[in-house]
Amino acid sequence: MTDVKTIEIQVLRYRPEQENEPVWQSYSVPYTEDMSVLQGLQHIKDDIDGTLSFRWSCRMAICGSCGMMVNGKPHLSCQTFLRDLLPGPVRIEALAHFPIERDLVVSVDKFVEKLESIKPYIIPKEARELAQGEYLQTPAQLEQFEQFASCINCMLCYSACPQFGLDPDFIGPGVLALLHRYNADSRDGGSKERMEIINAQEGVWSCTAVGYCSEVCPKHVDPANAVNQNKMNSAKDYFLRFLSPKGAAK
């Protein structure tokens, strides 16, 4: 048997009932080649310190629960491997730009409110009877929104967005990408209802095209593209109202 290899994992702890501000705590964790950062944290919780709090669920980059800052960059901890972070120490912190609720758990209340506000569902262009059959789509029409439909709401893009950090009211990359996902869907007729959100100060115009959101996205959604396409849509909406006063959104 070989010696057990260990790696140092430093976690930014915050327990509101005992600390006024977060503090770093260090753990020595035995690891194997196939261990993810999430498994490292699970080892800490199971065998070293049961008070450590963090979110996780699927362990395979589908659920979007386990996002955190790993060595200062936003990652899903389930698909980030300890072997790639040798020799350590590995520094783990709650997702940047979000208020810390406890340890690695952030407040998502505002994110969920924003998500609801964009009506993230298809608002049919025309009411159809069941007998009329399904809505058909060509591959080209699918391609217009497919990548944006891959979002898993992991919020890594928010941690990569300094504009969101500076102004937490900014709708932000992920939700705007989902907004675009529905607007760009040929079956959807709700883009007028969503225009007010796009046009607002907290809408697309808060984006300064940093572009890091698209770099960190684990699903290649490219939210920066969705946001910036909608700057064009917003500008068109603004100028076209002078041509057709009745046709434009508020």
Partner: protein
């Protein structure tokens, strides 16, 4: 549970010095900073246009000012800043436009970035050629 009995006390981290936190942010800030060089250079050119409208002596004075060592140095800084600015914008360019399709296939981001550079190089050569032709 009403809010006054909640044990929640969310901690908001400071954004101070955020742009030093990640190399990506520093590159972004370089783009924002070099925009000022682009602005200043356009002011220099505008001054040239104004001096041209004021007659030959004014115009020659402006040309002479451009040849001073300080001016050459500043223009080198402008050129470098412009290159950094252009590089950064061409990298972000594919993210700012709707998906393009040629022959049913989506144009890759790298192709769009390279097309930007190709146009820049061609335009620069054309401008230099025009300037040289004007000299002769």
């Amino acid at each position: 549970m009403s809010s006054n009995t909640s044990a929640r006390r969310p901690y908001v981290r400071s954004m101070r010095g955020w742009w030093r936190r990640d190399r990506f942010f520093m590159v972004y800030m370089a783009r924002e900073l070099t925009a000022f060089a682009v602005l200043l250079y356009s002011v220099v050119l505008m001054v040239g246009v104004v001096r041209l409208s004021q007659g030959e002596a004014a115009w020659n004075g402006w040309l002479a000012a451009l040849r001073s060592p300080w001016s050459v140095l500043v223009h080198l800084v402008f050129l470098l800043s412009m290159a950094v600015h252009a590089k950064s914008w061409f990298e972000i360019m594919p993210k700012t436009m709707p998906a393009m399709f040629i022959g049913g296939k989506r144009v890759a981001a790298l192709t769009i970035t390279r097309a930007g550079w190709a146009v820049t190089v061609l335009a620069s050569i054309a401008l230099l050629a025009l300037a040289c032709w004007g000299q002769s």
